[in-house]
Symmetry: C2
Subunit: 209 residues, 2 copies
DNA sequence: TGACGTCTCTTACGTCGTAAGAATATCGTC
DNA sequence: GACGATATTCTTACGACGTAAGAGACGTCA
């Protein structure tokens, strides 16, 4: 019953810590309360419901992704993609959330606005630039999703196990790729770089919208 | 108590119907049982747990995506992407699942194997080809995710509402893009086509793996 | 002191996944 | 048709979840 000095921010911070430590499945209002030395229902004074906590987590992550749009647009757009990826890999438990929920909170919108504005200054139309931002963002999210944190729970994906037990007779190409290093960290990094380059290479302002 | 003639397949089919109709959040073992005129626990005779139902749903969807790899590889790879997108849009409730869970079941692996093999015949390395398949697949999933079915529940995403209430002073480019048609079906289609073209245009076999 | 707004707790309801095992239905064999 | 084995279904129960409703405790200012 003594006051603890809570706030929406502290609740979100504790939620992020809990999620980072035990995975998204472990985030329940009761556990989050316990984390803060408080009963579950107390949290409802700072947050309307659990969904708001999840949305808050997303906005925290998205807000941390910032890029200064100076120099050649392909370069800072690439830096934007890399920044997203770094943030996602730092909090892989958030991936299912980011992939699943739209970015509607203030932090995310502000970032999108800034990038889109810079692209328009480069000759893209407003709609065109936004489409570009979206293409890059969804690409990064999709790719990072494939790379890490696939399982919604906290347990490791058993990809490795299944892969190793592949019948080389039935899946010869898969087996060969596995021997060639599929799934290693270097593989993921390289795959990301190559595909991102491909995407950026293929993009250009259309002059007319 | 009379036997109903259930089977794993029928359970999965009912699950898909239920999910299509009421969204992924409405899929509970009890409701799924009711759907089949059976108690919840009965399902556990055909399926080890709920996760297996979800995995089964994914594999059903993925298995339906098939492409004949004949002709120029960029063309049938494009057809592959379009086929994935069509299947996902036909069952948008599955999107959060497909995005979140790895493709490890037989159906998905077989498809991947076939595409990767065809790519190798085009001069890609085994690993390289698989990376390509993965890049295209994650791109499509990411993009479709942004297009539809964002909310995990069955209720419509309130994107439209939030967008309309945007302060044009604070988000001028976003507002302009909105007026230019952001978020319309044509916009999504065009965005998908353009980004996919960009991605494919940027990709090419590297000759050496 | 007392009253008031801020914050926290208790209790309760309906839902979920599923473990354990009892009850029933169906079928092969006599 | 009766009987035992096997395949299928049901009943009951437990602990966890999100959260509605309202009671209670705290700090502050009169």
């Amino acid at each position: 019953m003594p006051r603890v000095g809570l706030s929406r921010e502290k609740v979100l911070a504790a939620a992020l810590a809990l999620v980072d430590r035990e995975g998204i499945a472990a985030l329940s209002m009761r556990k989050l309360g316990a984390e803060l030395g408080v009963e579950a229902m107390t949290l409802y004074y700072y947050v309307p419901n659990k969904d708001a906590v999840l949305d808050g987590l997303i906005d925290m992550a998205v807000s941390r992704v910032t890029v200064e749009p100076v120099g050649p647009w392909r370069e800072w757009l690439r830096a934007f993609a890399v920044a997203i990826r770094r943030e996602l890999l730092a909090h892989p438990a958030l991936l299912p959330l980011v992939a699943t929920r739209p970015v509607l909170a203030p932090g995310g919108l502000a970032t999108v606005e800034r990038i889109a504005a810079a692209l328009r200054a480069e000759g893209f139309g407003a709609l065109e630039g936004l489409q570009l931002v979206n293409a890059v963002a969804t690409f990064v999210v999709g790719h990072t999703l494939a790379e890490a944190g696939r399982t919604p729970g906290h347990d490791e994906p058993d990809v490795a196990g299944v892969m190793e037990s592949l019948d080389p007779g039935e899946y010869p190409v898969l087996a060969e790729a596995l021997r060639a290093g599929l799934g290693t960290p270097e593989d993921h990094q390289e795959r990301f770089d190559r595909a991102l380059d491909a995407l950026l290479r293929g993009l250009a302002p259309r002059a007319t919208l």
